[in-house]
Assembly symmetry: C2
Homo-oligomer: 330 residues x 2
Amino acid sequence: MTKTISLACGNGGEENNELISKVFYKAFKNDILEKGEDAAIIHNGELAFSTDSFTVSPLFFAGADIGKLAVCGTCNDLAMMGAKPKYLTCSVIIEEGFVTADLERIVESMKQELEINGAIVVSGDTKVVPRGSVDKIFINTTGVGEVLKHGISANAITNDDVILVNRDIGCHGATIFAAREGIEMSSSLKSDCASLFPQVKALIDGGVEITALRDATRGGVSAVLNEWSKQSNICIEVEEEKIPVSDEVKGICEMLGFEATALANEGTFVLAIKKDDAELACGILKEFNPHAEIVASVTSRHVGKVILKSSWGTSRFLEMPNGELLPRIC
Amino acid sequence: MTKTISLACGNGGEENNELISKVFYKAFKNDILEKGEDAAIIHNGELAFSTDSFTVSPLFFAGADIGKLAVCGTCNDLAMMGAKPKYLTCSVIIEEGFVTADLERIVESMKQELEINGAIVVSGDTKVVPRGSVDKIFINTTGVGEVLKHGISANAITNDDVILVNRDIGCHGATIFAAREGIEMSSSLKSDCASLFPQVKALIDGGVEITALRDATRGGVSAVLNEWSKQSNICIEVEEEKIPVSDEVKGICEMLGFEATALANEGTFVLAIKKDDAELACGILKEFNPHAEIVASVTSRHVGKVILKSSWGTSRFLEMPNGELLPRIC
């Protein structure tokens, strides 16, 4: 580890994983933590349990705000384990002088998103700190969900699976970039921030054999695929042209020199589905977003690696994102 | 509500309660939240669930640090509902440039305190924000505990109960004040920060009929007694001289013009125990700290009020703390 914590340590990529494993996992180690899933499975497999703190800047942006984000983020982590979000805690740290009407607007967003998930806030904490001790407001939500579908795991993917995404990628990251840099978009670019439980429930109800699910937040689709390739000891071969990316997101990427696969998402998830059920799953997802797509196959070509194959027949490794990506993206 | 959030809104007292009820409870309202307990009881009464964010300054102080505090705080909230702390989440927000060795020291403190509670961290989140966006490090912990003793409730206290405290009060508040003001104490003053589950377990194992428990954190013993008097529609009559206060804490209070009953604690709790079991409970608590004491009776004299009776026969209302108490005390 470096002697001080750098912004890169929070990038959702390589340095972030190093900090987590060398400092936190090292001290806290236990079987549940080592599984490296989006949410812990506790209480004899009945419940999923997950936490997230939100520091996004700006607080309000196209498509969502920190309140909606705070409910979606934690509920989505539960949904990714096949769980129905049920109980949330909400802990806020507010800077002295924060405008009460803005707080009310944020809390109202949380309320609306809770209803979509059928979840309630059952415990909270409110801290106010002096001016300069925190930038405006940070929110932690922690959730407990009821596991509806058992055995979903990032460690269980095999060559029998294919990989899907539920929609076009990178909208949240591109939106925050644009807002932060003052780029005026005359387009419809907005964050993908959304609750994913309805889609997961539709897949379960539809009888889809789900192997693994993960929402592609910090570190984007690249981070998910790289984590999965290592957790399940597989090679993931991605057809680059199959990855849905909107023109607006492509524009931002070209302007700023980013890859869409490394951009953060807040309502986009990656799925590993048994081959036989892939078309069924894709059909169900398309009812929510027409850009849902099968994007990759699982092979043994380079175990622990992700290969990006272009339509011209070339291929390269898609690496885990590293360096200082955008801080305060979520 | 005021148009902006003031420091007083986080004082654990009157303004804090106004913010919680007018903004958060108003939006999130549900039966569990309205009970106003230290932890929510979920999953058919089997589990307790509670959250807390920690912003204490300085990070390291006599008797503890933010890591120990973060584990004690949440585990204590679970213990106050008669629950054994089992699973914790840990979410940290770190300022860019934070010294890694300090982070390791904090995480090591957490580990030690987890062992005392027999709890494990099963899910986490790590955010790094640019310099100036947060002061050093904030930690959220959220816990799930297994309810060992059902029916403990701040809404169930009657004239059949008496009120106890488990030790001398105000040490945490006094320690942070002294550290913040640069007061050199040649004494043994240190924070009371400690895990309370072992004491709660001893009471349960000892067969004590427990009505209610609450740890006296922000807002101190005053806040707990005032909240209880309203929640249970009772009058609490406190014998002022029975409240254990150390000479060091008295000294800080005199120097700074505070009342020990309004000072924050992190290992001190208030108990409502059936009269018949009061001596039994006090005896068990004294094995942990010799200053445990029966300090008040429950009557119907002024329902919803707390009366402080001096040894000279005078009496006055002990009010809910208000105004700007010490921010970043926990």
